[in-house]
Symmetry: C2
Subunit: 162 residues, 2 copies
């Protein structure tokens, strides 16, 4: 399990499969690292990070930036509030939304964890060149776009019995 030679990644199988495997490994790694530095889970950490980086600070944009389902986002946000990582303020421009403000606790957590995760990112891409990274970013965009279609080449229209 800790050795990639055991996994299907070396079997030359299909790409989505390999990406799934890679994602699992990355998730597990992130989870271990994050839990070592506090009591946030991955989703919660991502919310904190998006806000700490100043990317967004109101609910809907943060939710979309993190890619979290709105149901889970609502739950995670209330957990963050309970644990004292965020304070929610009314958002005057749209009273359905909230402005999310990080507490000192959240900023501290971000300052401790951020560098560690940056180091991890460096570690992940250490052996890849700029050009290769550019290819990867492009491929992610292309495939994410292609993944939105489910009705492409059906070899046969299919009538099945069960």
């Amino acid at each position: 399990m800790t050795n990639s030679r055991d996994s299907a990644i070396d079997l030359g199988l299909l790409l989505p499969f390999q990406i799934s495997q890679l994602n699992s490994a990355l998730n597990a790694q992130a989870k271990v690292i994050i839990s070592r530095y506090g009591d946030l889970n991955l989703a919660q950490w991502r919310i904190v990070r998006v806000i700490a980086l100043g990317i967004e600070n109101t609910t809907t944009p943060v939710r979309k930036a993190t890619g979290i389902d709105k149901s889970q986002f609502s739950k995670m946000l209330s957990v963050l509030e309970k644990k004292g990582y965020v304070v929610l303020h009314p958002f005057e421009s749209d009273k359905r939304q909230h402005v999310i403000e990080l507490t000192q606790k959240a900023r501290d957590a971000h300052e401790r964890l951020g560098p560690v995760l940056d180091a991890r990112q460096q570690h992940l891409i250490a052996t890849l060149s700029e050009e290769e990274l550019a290819v990867i970013y492009k491929a992610i965009r292309v495939m994410a776009d292609a993944a939105t279609k489910t009705d492409f080449a059906d070899p046969k229209p299919i009538r099945k019995e069960e």
Copy 2:
């Protein structure tokens, strides 16, 4: 949700995050396609496929090839057995394991779905060149390997309070 422009994929954020997003999109796509052709879920389908392709046919190697957690693997396998996709035989070389045999039903399912998923794969990589694909496969290997470490560069040895 169906439009990648709304997601973090365009935000230039960290790689693991983007991979996670991509994986979600691919999963959702695969789920739709597979459910259209039968009553298997992704994990079950992968088990069937690994066996149908003749890669492995005993429990532990199949489990490792599919990358599924051993607990879930056990459950999925018994579901497959109940639904009549596989028959389990004792494995004389190691009585803890089983030999997994596909039924005709499973082979039929594989013959129907395989080509569809091949078409999907083609669709996903349609705009990528051979060289780019090679880079991607390499990057997946490299990152999957790098993801097995959790104790690399700690910027500071860290003494934390909680």
